[in-house]
Symmetry: D2
């Protein structure tokens, strides 16, 4: 058993981390902090954790630095920067669920997050926590930049064909649909039940901050600059992201070959399931799990140009956040990769 | 006042037609028929029509042919063919909400609906009931092929730029999200509350029957063969369709120019609203109305190639079905086009 | 045409009032004010009112007092007191949707709303705006205290048997289930989609402020002090209240007799529908309408004591608030009582 | 490890049993049968069990009797009778999730289920599977009649005060609100998304079959005939039951005393949580768990008569069905009572 702490744990990703970590065979959550909920008990804020005895401590990192070896940071973007640096200096390992260490390019960070990155050296040290790409680096990382929810759903849908250079990298369109928990737990009018319910909308077209994150990783994969079209949508359900991805093959391809490429690439991955030909992923099938379901379709009724349509489904709070974070921890500490992540979720 | 009848009126489009027609200043619904609900009262099947005195009559068209001048047909695809032909022969006007007279090409009909079209001559006579394109033909039509719900949301998002030849017609991708009522009222397991709730999925990728309908109309508009990529999705809400449409401009364009093109094209249309720059359509904004809201965005962060992103929102049962049908009736009979279609809908 | 104004109109009841009033044949909305939304356009706040040209004005009553003859007040409880007094003094008619003038007893008001009532003389003048009881007084009223949403659903379920002294008035239990819009539009965490969705809870047991309001009116009806048990619940839907009411008959009764009592009592009421024997009200059947559906059941399988179970369904924002307010206006001004309230609502 | 089978496992309770049993440390599911889904794979029917290798076998009990020691029966009421008898004769243990062995009185069974019970001797042998009352009998039972979902939520809310004779047993009113999965997985129109969504209704007033079950168990507890008022409601969410229970104390009581009574009674129960004074159970707090949350309130603002209001929340598919069944199995076989039932469920 070793000790972990959660910093900024009163939101949805904090709650799911608490839940997962409490069920992990090898770790002990010693501390959870929260700015707005300091002094309140975890059981009050999370109805599914009624038996949890922890109390939220105030958000003073100095006070809690000795309480754990590994820190999960669920702080808002921008405020996470410094916390990571402080903990790193103190010799602690960090898994940062904010966006602050995801973009390798400090200039890109400044452009998209409208604030300067003060620790560019640490940016280089940080490892992007997507095991399907960076497993080996994660093993030895001291700072993990845990991926954004949309990027996980987008990148996992594209890795196999990007790696194999099968597609025209200028043709990528990602149309994503997310449940409302993805927007966080701070109460604002658009997130109220009576506003979000019974409606669907697109938002942040051309401006969503997950765009450069997806482009960076696809760029690394294909070793060139990648620009994508990314459109997020908000749909009336608690959790889940479905991404429908459209790409043009470089040359004429056959669907079974592409499907085989996916199956081979993910053959040993514990959390990616390539569905059978014709099977559709849906978010209910991954709700409460750390799986990413992927299915590949080929539209060739336009004889001039084929289009690959890749559909992925994840639980935005698990494979898209807290489950992913725990998977990273498992890799960092040499635990079984699936430790604490194998419980089947209720259905419906 | 003139007399109208609804054939096959126990589903959602039948219910909405009944509601709209009962509120229309110039028409009188004399008859509504239903196969499965013959003998039942309308008030039992539609909770919002508790004060309606009509009883569903059996589905024998012969028995009801004298009861009206205009017939709305809400029959399943394939069974509508013959009913239209019979009524037409009897000198009646018909607005057919099924797909049977939408495809002008009998061979295409056979391919997509897996049954032969027995009245190819009538196919030619039938007018595709989208007033924004065919207003003049609708005025004199005796058979209206009322458009499918997805096609309305897709075509209205593309007409202005297709007409003006602004885009690469091989680049069209339509990603649509529909509420569950779009799948009809026949009980099947996937449409049960506990199955469809809290989930989102794509379906019928490359095989949805609205594909050739969209392609036909876009082809007529641009005077060449059009092939599109169309992906429908089912999302957990009662009604509404949001379509996110991706197209490549032929040449470098500026957003205000495109927006102006849309505003000009729809300037006099009573039921299409081009939103202001940066405003997002959502289905809650059109729920219960006959409006189609359209907004245009331009993604140009890929310097090689711009992408236009057009978002449209309609109520699938109104602008996507029954409201559209009544709009067509208004045009056919010289009523004010908005007669019976101006009530503001409740919100939230 | 005469002029009306809405004070504090950026919430859900304000939005529904705007919608209804804009469709009313005889009135003109000249002004709508809002504290938090002053300067914003109505079309921005209410997606269903996109074509509305009004802009929210600041909440200075002095500035708008000349703009209308009748004022609808959608202010929070406690702040409405003074506004009513000011407008009344200026010779204006007022329909107050807050609770400030509902309780006739200033002491009760102080106890339940924890603030002193500064205008006890006006309290006496104000008429409780439930036409099914106070129609004649409403005709001549200058201040209407528009009923609370739960009280409407409760009182209308009990009037006929209270008036006819059929029941043990100590036995009344009201178990109410409300959609989330009933809790208003101010964003708080419990009203967020991801919190309220997929859950049901009771709240404010023994402490809900609608309790004394229901007790007052039932007391007036039966001419004695009435104490009830009232339990509100929050359920995951946008709008609607279903109240299930349990009462013991004084003496052995027969169901058809009770049903007849309800039918007779409500025979001429335009907005109360007594359902047929065995028929169940549901909120979908009244959504978007000003109806209250009522059905009466008798449980007599306990031979010692019968229990009457009365179920009522209303739309909390219409019969429970804004529709009721407009009905009151119609009565006050001698319009047809149903003017502006007859549109059929979409379904599903 | 010992072998269990599920008979009739393609519905929601079957799916949840499969999920739970697959995670149980000591059992092995050898067989699952289904009438309508024979030949299909479990992974197709349950999106959360995509990795399950089982195939539904046809519903011939003879063919599967040798495959297990313990059988869970998820058959429809009436058809379960014979299956239980057959398996019992073959020396197998049975946990029957149908209602067929719950009513001890064959005459009552006939009255409420409109069919004769052919195995009255077995009725006597069967143990009602509510551990909080019958733990010792369950240990030695060969046939468990697993309780209905509503009865669990009702009885657990009343046991402590019935046992202690604190209340007037003629005063019990149970108002229950259930998610849609409680109505099963057979597709019918009222259970379709677009029908059940955004609505609430009462149903089966005075006629619901769980009434005699609740009355029987409360009667056993208080050693006299009990008649209750029970009203079930359907609300738009996947799972969960909230029961609001109203009872009159025999004599004047104090709330802390009643709360203490509940705390004492349930002190050692692993799956009942008595909430703190003033805390409200909600179904989100028990979703995905085997807990029953209970909270007690006292309304005494009517000086003549106090009313106790007890609110309970359960997950209808777990504590109300499959979780309860597995708890019974744990007791029967001497496993840790909470084995396989301790996973924390996702939230929101």
């Amino acid at each position: 058993m070793f000790n972990v702490a959660i910093i900024g744990g009163s939101g949805y990703t904090g709650g799911e981390l608490l839940r997962l970590l409490k069920q992990h065979p090898h770790v002990n959550v010693t501390t959870v902090t929260s700015k707005r909920s300091a002094g309140k008990s975890v059981s009050n804020l999370f109805p599914n954790l009624k038996d949890c005895q922890l109390i939220f401590e105030p958000l003073k990192i100095k006070n809690v630095v000795k309480k754990a070896d590994l820190f999960f940071l669920c702080l808002p973007h921008k405020t996470s920067q410094e916390a990571v640096a402080y903990l790193h200096k103190a010799g602690k390992k960090v898994i940062d669920l904010s966006a602050d260490y995801r973009l390798k390019d400090a200039a890109a960070y400044k452009k998209w997050y409208e604030t300067r990155h003060m620790f560019p050296a640490l940016l280089k040290k940080a490892v992007y926590g997507l095991p399907e790409i960076y497993r080996n680096k994660i093993k030895h990382a001291s700072i993990i930049a845990n991926p954004g929810c949309y990027p996980v759903s987008a990148i996992l849908g594209l890795v196999p064909i990007m790696k194999n250079s099968l597609i025209d990298s200028d043709s990528i369109i990602i149309d994503s649909k997310s449940g409302v928990s993805g927007a966080g737990r701070n109460p604002t009018q658009p997130l109220m039940f009576s506003e979000a319910n019974e409606s669907v909308k697109a938002y942040a077209i051309t401006t969503h901050r997950h765009t450069p994150e997806i482009e960076q990783e696809l760029g690394f994969l294909s070793k060139k600059k990648i620009k994508i079209i990314f459109t997020p949508h908000l749909i009336p359900m608690d959790r889940g992201i479905l991404s429908t991805i459209y790409v043009k093959p470089k040359e004429k391809i056959k669907l079974p070959h592409v499907q085989k490429t996916y199956q081979n690439f993910y053959a040993k991955e514990p959390f990616v399931r390539v569905l059978k030909d014709g099977e559709y992923p849906n978010t209910k099938g991954v709700k409460g799990s750390n799986y990413c379901d992927v299915s590949v379709f080929l539209d060739q009724h336009n004889h001039k140009r084929q289009t690959l349509i890749i559909v992925t489904a994840i639980d935005n709070l698990l494979k898209g956040a807290s489950g992913q974070a725990m998977h990273n921890m498992n890799i960092m500490y040499g635990f079984d990769e699936t430790a604490g992540l194998t419980t089947l979720s209720p259905c419906p």
